[in-house]
């Protein structure tokens, strides 16, 4: 048996890739919600919301009603999202200044915010703004405002770090973005609601066993 075949046998399931993960999150966003998407995989989520399902995307830099990425030859250089990517505006969209934009966020007017994270604790703490690395200065952007302001905070992240440590933890090791803020976590292995009793499993990728999942999860999984 070659090493390759052996590897495949050991992995009886296929983790979601980035688009699979974005698609999984998109499936749960109903029509009519106002949603802010963080940088990275969260931004991809918009691409998997069907065009006939009206979801209103908000960007911190004063844009509501963001539409799909423009074709190269139709870029409008004055219209970017919070990730500094060129975007379009849907019919019904609007522009406003930063204080009004964060009034929307802080005032609880967003139905949902989807953020990436380094870690999420079983009590819903989120750490996503600094790894305490000495290589770069800390930067927080709008993450703390979004984490406390939106009606719901969902996190999208890899289930484990590159060196295999759990990102779903009992207590975050990195500085918090907000305590007790996360409602749901989507990883490349499974989906969980954060409940008083811990990580409540909603679904997992086919072929994955609960034992295997718990082995890569530090917090308590309940079913």
């Amino acid at each position: 048996m070659s090493a390759e075949t052996q590897g495949k046998q050991q992995l009886s399931y296929i983790p979601l890739d980035r688009t699979g993960l974005a698609r999984r999150v998109a499936a749960d966003i109903p029509e009519g919600w106002v949603v802010n998407l963080g940088i990275g995989v969260p931004t991809l989520v918009a691409d998997y919301v069907p065009a006939d399902r009206e979801v209103i995307f908000h960007s911190e830099n004063g844009v509501l009603g963001i539409g799909p990425k423009p074709p190269e030859d139709q870029i409008e250089r004055w219209l970017i999202n919070a990730g500094k990517q060129y975007v379009t505006l849907r019919s019904g969209g609007s522009y406003f200044h930063h204080a009004d934009s964060f009034a929307m966020i802080r005032g609880g007017h967003l139905d949902l915010c989807v953020l990436g994270a380094f870690e999420v604790s079983e009590t819903g703490d989120i750490a996503n703004w600094t790894t305490l690395s000495t290589e770069t200065a800390p930067a927080v952007g709008g993450a703390m405002d979004l984490a406390v302001g939106a009606q719901r905070l969902w996190v999208v992240m890899e289930h484990v770090t590159k060196d295999g440590r759990p990102r779903l933890v009992q207590k975050c090791s990195y500085p918090l973005t907000a305590p007790q803020a996360v409602k749901r976590v989507y990883t490349n292995l499974a989906t969980f609601d954060i409940t008083q009793d811990g990580f409540k499993l909603l679904d997992m990728v086919p072929g994955l066993t609960l034992t295997e999942l718990q082995a890569v999860t530090e917090g308590r999984i309940i079913c």
């Binding site: 106002v34 009206e54 009603g65 019904g92 802080r106 005032g107």
Partner: protein, 226 residues
């Protein structure tokens, strides 16, 4: 498809309860949601707390709601009804409670509620009767009062144009308290003079983005009354 436009005032006001805190836009006769207020009277709700700059105008809308004794408390800066003694009579008869708030503090308390700011400091009212019972603090050697956010259960708003997402524009001094009240209620209900197609309103000139609005009803009532 998102469609916040409802067919009638009754539908727009569905679910309003006794005891609600109601934000009522308008200044003078301009920007008053009179038809929504008349509809509110029709629902029969009572024991309301009203937040409005004045106590109504003429004999319609808020003025009539007060006269029918549906309002137990009013929070406002200038509790007068032009050309009417209704408020004064209720006040003298102890049939209505008054929380008098300076106009700018009233506006900022409403804006704060919409912006998720539970409280802020202002110099307005320091050293006056209206500072009584309020916390104060010093910043840079100057004294300020702590004022808290004023959030509504519903807001009754008048707009000039609205679309099905609830985007709004206003007309001239009809803007006044309407845009900030629209941000500050659990349910924001709009009567609009005109209904626009989605995309018809210029995104640069929308004053109230639809995110703040729950229901819109088309009321082409014409010029302000009074």
């Amino acid at each position: 498809m998102i469609n916040k436009i409802v067919r009638s005032v009754a539908e727009a006001l569905d679910g309003v309860r006794d005891g609600a805190l109601v934000l009522v836009g308008g200044f003078g006769a301009v920007g008053q949601s009179n038809q929504l207020l008349e509809g509110l009277i029709e629902t029969g709700v009572r024991d309301l707390t009203i937040v409005a700059n004045n106590a109504g105008y003429g004999n319609v809308g808020l003025a009539r709601l007060l006269k029918l004794e549906r309002v137990s408390k009013i929070i406002c800066s200038f509790p007068r009804i032009a050309g009417s003694t209704t408020f004064e009579e209720l006040y003298k008869a102890n049939k209505i409670a008054l929380e008098l708030v300076p106009q700018g503090t009233l506006a900022e308390r409403i804006r704060a509620a919409g912006a998720g700011i539970p409280a802020f400091y202002t110099a307005t009212g320091v050293g006056t009767e209206l500072a009584k019972g309020k916390k104060s603090a010093e910043f840079d050697g100057k004294t300020y009062l702590l004022e808290t956010a004023l959030k509504g259960d519903i807001a009754l708003i008048e707009a000039w144009k609205a679309d099905r997402w609830g985007n709004l524009t206003y007309r001239q001094s009809g803007r006044n308290f309407n845009p900030i009240m629209a941000t500050a209620a659990r349910t924001t209900i709009v009567q609009s003079q005109h209904i626009a197609e989605l995309g018809e309103l210029d995104p640069e000139t929308i004053v109230t983005p639809g995110i703040f609005v729950e229901r819109v009803v088309h009321i082409p009532h014409g010029d302000p009354q009074g």
